[in-house]
Symmetry: C2
Amino acid sequence: MMTIVPDFGLIIDTHFIWLVRPIMSQVLLTLFQQAENVTGTLRERVCNTLRKAIHGGTLSAGQRLPSSRVLAADLSVSRVTAEAAYSQLEAEGYLQRRVGQGTYVAIQISKPAAIRKSSGQLRLSQRGLAIVQTGGCRDPQQPLPFAAGSPDLRAFPLKLWQQLTAQRLRLQGEKLLRYGDPQGYLPLREAIAGYVGQTRGVNCDAEQVIVLTSSQQALQLIATLLIDNGDAVWVEEPGYNGARNAFTSAGAKLVPVTVDEHGLRPDDSLPTPRLVYLTPSHQYPTGVALSLERRLALLEQARRSHSWIIEDDYDSEFHYDGQPMPAVQGLDRHGTVLYVGTFSKALFPSLRLAYLIVPPALIAAFTTARSVYDGHCAQLAQAVTAEFMLQGHFAAHIRYMRQLYRSRRNWLLTELAQHLQHLVTPLHSDGGLQLGVWLPVGQEAELTRQAQQLGVVTPGLSALYQNANARRDGWLLGFSALTPREITLAVERLRRINAVAASRPA
Amino acid sequence: MMTIVPDFGLIIDTHFIWLVRPIMSQVLLTLFQQAENVTGTLRERVCNTLRKAIHGGTLSAGQRLPSSRVLAADLSVSRVTAEAAYSQLEAEGYLQRRVGQGTYVAIQISKPAAIRKSSGQLRLSQRGLAIVQTGGCRDPQQPLPFAAGSPDLRAFPLKLWQQLTAQRLRLQGEKLLRYGDPQGYLPLREAIAGYVGQTRGVNCDAEQVIVLTSSQQALQLIATLLIDNGDAVWVEEPGYNGARNAFTSAGAKLVPVTVDEHGLRPDDSLPTPRLVYLTPSHQYPTGVALSLERRLALLEQARRSHSWIIEDDYDSEFHYDGQPMPAVQGLDRHGTVLYVGTFSKALFPSLRLAYLIVPPALIAAFTTARSVYDGHCAQLAQAVTAEFMLQGHFAAHIRYMRQLYRSRRNWLLTELAQHLQHLVTPLHSDGGLQLGVWLPVGQEAELTRQAQQLGVVTPGLSALYQNANARRDGWLLGFSALTPREITLAVERLRRINAVAASRPA
């Protein structure tokens, strides 16, 4: 702090002001002008200007400020405004005003230059570290060939969606702006229960449905509520990395279980699971369906060992040859299955609506946890989706998209058979938005690198294995968002890497 | 399984069919008709009908089904359809077809009557139990007097919002339907960084902003990433229960710290915190502002002990007397403050948009964790909000609502002073959407009960204390969503409980 000598204080300060005032005026005026497009009153602007000068080190502790009259003149504001600003900053503790002596800066704040350097500390919790180490889940934001698993949004009935949105707002107005039910908007829950009951054989009522933002949130919620540190969780091998990340984040011990042509094939050597994660309709990424016999065996095991089954029915809407088998949930007689579905594939990803269907005993716990996590889902989006379903648009849209995707899958299979047969071997392709293909042994990394150079994204299969020894080379080609022409162009590009790949040792 | 005697099998079965066919036909026809409004092909309907009959126990293992010709006649479908349905169900493992002998049910599923009874098991993880025990966070879904803290949605410019929504969809179309950036839509992050910099003195750029669904999600994410089991977390006493729930869910040891007229007042006896939770603008629920001196002391402590500070600036937009003090974050020189803001109060709760501003060192970790938790926020809502801010509507809306709420706060204070002075003593009321009042000692429960009988919701203050011994009786009266007339009516109702309350021992 500056020491004020009672007798000379005024003189020194006056002198000081004469010396520095032009500079200070200029600095304050500059800061003030920078703040010009700020909303709010003039007084707020003056306060902001002075605070910035103090925070930024332009004004330091003990420094005397111009009188409110001078400040007003410098900044071209009224004296009342300048006075009010000084009063407020005094109340806030930034300034000190001494009767007959003037206004002084009361605090010292070190310069912001120090911020970045010392802010490099990353002191995460153990759980935080585990989460960061998963690497996260990033869905493709661009529909590039063959980035995996995005619906074709060019075919989405956006006009109709907008009409329903306007209609909902007109009819329900501000009710849809309020806080919503953590479990979800009831008409949507009813529509979902009806839909999964009819099309997937899921046995539930609206009470069991919890509307969430994404299937990822459903998996995270399940993992948090049902898994203790070190609990064994069976995951499909190869399998969905988003689910693995959720379980790992919750401290689970992942147990990879081989997938054969009938789906998950557990053997007796495996530890009893606390939870089993399944994608039974089209296993991700191999596309196989879990056989009825294994479904029943897994349910029986869950009953015996008091474990849980997650049924992630992520894209069962899109099955092309015959019907997908009905949900495992419909076979459950002991409340062991948690069924997860999403609108990200059937409608659009940024809608942020998915659903979790839990056994009756878990409804209250999951609803409470949901309220602690992020409250509830946007009501407008829920109301529009419910209306879209109730008016029959959803079923029509699914039917249309299923045909569209079926023709694209057929086209991709044709193109691969014709031009890339020596390189890729398609896996099951009964349904889904992507097609898995095997590659020659040991060549995934190199072929992917070359594909990338040619502008084609080819997500690898080997990363979907938990066990490094089990890894097989392959790609997971997302075709649903691509027109036949786009598919042809992408395959043409991939043809160029054949020769190089073939010349390398297999 | 039924044993088929080769020679007599046909006879027995034919006989059996003649006996049961009328019944089975009737049951299948009924199930089939129930499924009539199901979308999908006829074959799908036939499959669903038969699956339901098997799942429901109408058809049991070994039972012979009518021939496809008879089934076709019974259900009035073509023979091709009936044949295709049988084939599909055989592929799924439901049926077994024996050449020359007919079609049999291959599996037995126990009756669904057993579901509910045995589904009563609630086997939660330890963390799951802790979360459920918090009781969750339920925001008021109805703007009843005096349910706490909702904006007045009748004053929201819904028409303008709809216009901007339509405009965004027209201009950006399907891009806004895609998967979005886990960190948030860049133009919105830029708008937020500009806004909090100008109005709250927050020192950040768009890189540090993470767009989330709610401040609750921000608190949960912070708790998960930064708190280990048993870590001490300082919380304000009394304080916000949503934050406590988030910390408790993450395994924190809550340390209640008294709040006096200058805000949080730590004493030397407290354990060093891993994290300090602050509502410094208007402390929730007392309304006091944290003094500059204490802000600096808390920052210094955080620097020394490598701890974190959460600044929950939940309703700083609504400050009525003078300006709110700038954010603690703006004083931070060592990257210790995580700043939380929300659009739930400033725009509308069901928008589901809030923001977290983290020190540079934490950006990557928080973005990754966000992607594992629920992916990203709805892009359309983010784009519309960004546009609303950039066009200046946000600042105008805040100004308008601030005046509206100020007049309502004034009206509530007037009414309370005039009619309930003997019962309630208002706390600080410089800002915020609710007003805390003290009640006569020991009377909160009884007065709340009576208020409720009169149709007035009066959230209690005592529940906001962590330490039972520190509890003080009071109410937190949400006034922002109520017109002056609604305030008057509610106060009139509360007047009726005076006599009763006064006659009880204090």
